[in-house]
């Protein structure tokens, strides 16, 4: 049974592709963002640049060259004003969180997609950065903030539990930006996106049986012992007509000419409404399938009608199923 289930495309699921355009865009974005943030950090240093200052000759060592560059491009020789520094950190946070939003859009389906979450993920680090900039090293401000947060209550259900990870990722980037650790924020952003896209691509742990076998059984264990999932087709929606009371009944018989009068006598008695739909001739075997649209009487019910068909239709009738055919 396992072998044939494994051949079913529904059991296997669809192959997920991240897509070359997505990967290329992310790489180019990170390169541009890295360059931009390096330039901004040189232009708006928090403290006085340690380099020799504008007009000094270019040194020959790499470290010296970086210091020289900082000294050349720094717009505020004595360190940027606080508001500009805060603005730079917030811009950095937004720049680094955008790939998370990108990753969210790539990995969600139309049903699971939540546009407000995308906006939240982009805005959240700005707020967190601002809070960190305000609090700085002040214990008193931190306690005040805790008091304010405790007073604010809101609740929102996420569409997916995995969405919470994006919120935490955005908070992490905001925290790192707020304490002037944009390099840490950048690493967090890159690692988050790589892990999230990889988990999505390989649909990691979606199939319990296979994951269990891979992680918990000895290597080289016979995978044939691991059962494949079996898809059970929906029952009611596939078999019932829009009114929800009429059912498509497939009756397996040996000879249609002998079976139809017996079946239709039962239907005339036990069904409120019925109509003959089709006769499926024997394909590769002996069974003819007669399809009927049937609305059983309430007093009889579908199971009662089926029992009567099997009993009164014997020996020509062997099965009556209310599921769709092959």
């Amino acid at each position: 049974m396992t072998a044939k289930s494994s051949s079913s495309p529904t059991a296997r699921g669809v192959v997920r592709e991240i897509g070359r355009y997505t990967v290329v865009r992310l790489v180019v974005y990170y390169l541009l963002a890295g360059g931009l943030l390096l330039l901004l950090s040189a232009m708006f240093p928090e403290h006085r640049p340690s380099g020799p200052g504008p007009g000094a000759p270019m040194p020959s060592t790499m470290g010296g060259m970086l210091d020289w560059f900082r000294g050349e491009v720094a717009l505020f020789p004595n360190g940027a004003p606080r508001w500009i520094d805060a603005l730079f950190q917030m811009v950095g946070a937004v720049v680094l969180v955008i790939p998370l939003a990108f990753s969210y859009v790539r990995t969600r389906t139309r049903v699971k997609y939540d546009h407000s979450l995308v906006q939240t993920v982009i805005e959240l680090p700005v707020v967190v950065t601002a809070i960190l900039v305000v609090v700085r090293d002040s214990l008193a401000l931190a306690f005040s903030l805790a008091g304010i947060v405790a007073a604010v209550r809101f609740r929102n259900n996420l569409k997916e539990s995995g969405d919470a990870v994006y919120i935490f990722g955005a908070i992490g980037i905001g925290f790192a930006s707020g304490i002037h650790a944009l390099s840490v924020a950048a690493v967090l952003s890159i690692v988050f996106v790589v892990v999230e896209l990889s988990l999505w691509k390989f649909n990691f742990s979606a199939d319990f049986e296979r994951t269990f076998a891979r992680l918990c059984l000895p290597s080289g264990a016979d995978m044939a012992w691991v059962p494949e999932p079996v898809e059970t087709p929906p029952e009611k929606s596939a078999t019932s007509a829009p009114d929800g009371k009429t059912t498509r009944l497939r009756v397996y018989v040996d000879r249609a000419d002998a079976a139809r009068p017996l079946i239709e006598a039962v239907l005339a008695r036990d069904a409120k409404r019925w109509s003959f739909e089709a006769e499926e001739p024997p394909a590769n075997g002996n069974a003819t399938v007669l399809a009927y649209q049937v609305r059983p009487r309430k007093s009889v019910g579908l199971d009662g009608l089926r029992s009567n068909l099997l009993r009164e239709g014997a020996p020509h009738v062997v099965a009556a199923d209310d599921a769709p055919g092959l």
């Binding site: 049974m1 289930s5 079996v230 397996y252 394909a283 062997v318 099965a319 199923d321 599921a323």
Partner: protein, 193 residues
């Protein structure tokens, strides 16, 4: 006829016998033997399919259940099988069987005892039979018979003794059972697979 059906050559060993758990008349045209594990999700899905087949074929079908606990991957499967056997000792195998498949996510010892209580079983007797080595032997005998019959995973079905290699889905399974039933013109009393 069987050439067109996804059936292997008959290999069920041993054939269906009175010691098996069977639902449906002994003289049914078709005997469906299921090797399954109560903790296996695929078996849980197949349970609904087989119930639909029972409804569709009525007295033309006899269902036989044999245990095939995959103890490596399903740590509760053996206990669940013993619980079903102990319930069977009080004539409640099939109600317990249905309950276990419907509550596959909860098969701890407490859960099994709760199901036994729900079925109004004599709990002292049920616990005693659960603990008997003969109960486990019975389950392991089914497991061994499955291996002899060529079972490699769960669920595995045998239709009149021949392994069914089609999809365990409602349409294909009922189709195969109905075709075998029509090929079996004369249902004999006590017909064995």
């Amino acid at each position: 006829m069987t050439a067109a059906l996804p059936l292997a050559t008959p290999s069920l060993d041993p054939p269906v016998a009175p010691r098996d758990h069977a639902a449906g008349p002994a003289g049914a045209r078709v005997t469906l033997v299921e090797y399954a594990d109560f903790e296996c999700p695929s078996c849980g899905a197949a349970h609904g399919v087989i119930q639909a087949a029972q409804r569709a074929l009525g007295d033309n079908l006899r269902l036989v259940f044999r245990h095939f606990p995959l103890r490596d991957s399903h740590p509760h499967a053996l206990d669940a099988a013993r619980a079903a056997e102990a319930a069977g000792e009080q004539g409640q195998f099939w109600p317990m069987h249905d309950r276990l498949f419907e509550r596959q996510h909860a098969l701890e010892a407490d859960d099994l005892a709760r199901y036994a209580r729900k079925l109004d079983l004599d709990l002292v007797r049920w616990n005693r039979v659960m603990a008997l080595s003969a109960t486990e032997d019975r389950v392991l005998a089914d497991l061994a018979s499955g291996r002899r019959s060529g079972v490699r995973g769960t669920p595995t079905l045998f239709i009149n003794g021949a392994r069914y290699d089609g999809l365990v889905e409602r349409g294909p399974l009922i189709d195969a059972l109905a075709r075998v039933a029509l090929a079996t013109r004369e249902p004999g009393p006590g017909r064995q697979s």
